[in-house]
Symmetry: C2
Subunit: 333 residues, 2 copies
């Protein structure tokens, strides 16, 4: 069997371009004792991967130029020398950015009976969904009746944040790029208010939707969104810091919010978090989220690119606003 | 009886000047039923008062141009029509910036048997001491063996922060303005390392004293100190945001730290706080701090200006680094 895989041709400078990636074809060996061969069916690209493409320390190790990139993947076992991982099972692994692989079952998780299409395990039932869940409920310590503002609200994380807020009896405000995304948030997902950040006047637009001001700002964006949100917080507000996509492609240091001192008088808590350190909440997440998805209380959407060759474009699309909901690369044939 | 009192002549623009204040002399009436007359003996000026001199909302109401300023004061009851507040008692009130006053006992606290000179109740045993205590131990959630960096370390709050850290079995690093303050921190107060922030290279100077990096950064200063500290934090570090004295006299918005996104990957918590919301810890504070002061484990110093006429200069001196330890105005004759 052959597998096409994506490697870095060079480290991106600023906004990534297709020339930063190349596609190689490799042989997939037969499984040895204890090993499995997996054919991936859904791959994910996520904004955090941009940080791994630069040559500096981060909370996850950087990508090596000579190796195939890694990231979340859902695949199906097609050959097995491991009785715990039989042929036909769907598995989640970190061996994305490739069509197929052979290896040990270490770090591989069986999905069991699927509660949703496989790709959902890369989105609403996977890392982005759990990021929304722990970020809002644990880091953000959301209480019923509060008002939540989330940036990047039409993305995989943001769209779950707003809907979880609604499920918890809160008001949800979201920002996104473009009229269609704004419509989607309000009409399809039930946000109380949404606006197009490209229209500017962030602070005024937040307060139009939240005249009672904000208790939790879930930050996926950083930059001017964070500065505007700080000006709109209620006392004792919480700001889970999840991402700063506005800065990931910056080639120079970007000034921070010029109003951070507001945090003193208003007793605000800004708290950065990484979802992988919240595994103690994994069972709660799976139970709640599966139930919300199955009952239709929490909807999700995917933006799908077909075929491994399109994967760099899908990744670049994260930074140009090409996705509504989870960005997925479909390898089904 | 007459009382000289300080009022705002005009709202300061940028660094306050003596011309922003004026001294008026008023009559102090005799106490009516339930009232007391108090002769102040020690007055305090604190950086937070700068925020009350501008004409905008803050967490405490702004000063009115037509009224005498207010702030912490220790005084002695000289006349009384209130049997709960007999003549001769020392009391703490918020009726500072004046020599004497007559009024109700509401908001007035009897000091009882003095455990220290009266002025200490405006410093190490008062609001600044409690700010250090709750900010470091509760907001900062300090654990034994950790490393603490505090800016404005030679001030009333900062000098207590470093010494409490040492008492709790931690390493204490401090920054201050000038060689003598740096010497004082290390030789008199037992800081493990201190440096003069005016020498620049904040990040390098922090790491020289804390090669193992920082677990808690107690921020009195904001600005470049906060940015440098963010670059030196250990994962899961806490940053109690107590003050931003570097910005209090700014006439334009000052850019925030350009590296705030570090908080995501390192899971940092930045938490603003106001000491008045931590009254549930007041008994613990009084018990611990009194014991530490009396045993000599925690030392304090005062910078004393004599006479009410000098009070504006004492206040301005807070922003020029004129004080080591608590800035006090002594009204004893």
């Amino acid at each position: 069997m052959k597998s096409k895989e994506i490697r870095l041709n060079q480290r991106p400078h600023g906004m990534p371009t297709p020339e930063d990636f190349n596609v190689v074809e490799v042989d997939v060996p037969d499984p040895q004792d204890g090993e499995i061969t997996v054919k991936n069916v859904s791959l994910t690209v996520d904004p955090y991967m941009r940080g791994r493409m630069v040559d500096r320390a981060s909370y996850v190790a950087g990508f090596d130029l000579s190796e195939t990139l890694t990231g979340g993947a859902i695949g199906k076992i097609v050959e097995s020398q491991n009785s715990d991982f039989p042929v036909g099972e769907y598995v989640e692994s970190h061996l994305g950015w490739r069509e197929a692989w052979t290896g040990s079952s270490r770090g591989v998780r069986k999905l069991g009976n699927l509660e949703a299409p496989p790709s959902a395990y890369l989105g609403v039932l996977g890392m982005p969904g759990m990021t929304a869940y722990v970020g809002l409920l644990d880091v953000g310590a959301l209480k019923e009746g509060e008002t939540v503002f989330v940036s990047g609200a039409a993305g995989a994380v943001g769209s779950a944040v707003g809907q979880i807020a609604k499920i918890k009896g809160c008001k949800a405000i979201g920002s996104a790029g473009g009229k269609e995304k704004v419509r989607h948030l309000v009409e399809d997902l039930g946000f109380d208010h949404a606006f197009d950040y490209r229209d500017g006047h962030l602070e005024r637009q937040i307060l139009e939707g939240a005249p009672q001001r904000i208790d939790v700002y879930f930050d996926n964006v950083g930059g001017s969104h964070l500065q505007a949100a700080l000006n709109c917080m209620n006392p004792n507000g919480r700001l889970p810091l999840c991402g700063a996509i506005s800065q990931y492609n910056a080639t120079e240091a970007v000034p921070g919010p010029n109003n951070l001192a507001i945090a003193i008088g208003s007793q605000l808590t800004l708290k950065g978090f990484i979802v992988s350190n919240y595994n103690h909440l994994r069972e709660d997440f799976i139970r709640d989220m599966t139930s919300w998805v199955n009952s239709g209380q929490l909807k999700y959407r995917e933006t799908v690119f077909d075929g491994i060759d399109e994967m760099p474009n899908a990744f670049i699309g994260l930074f140009t606003g090409a996705n509504t909901g989870k960005m997925i690369i479909n390898l089904d044939d």
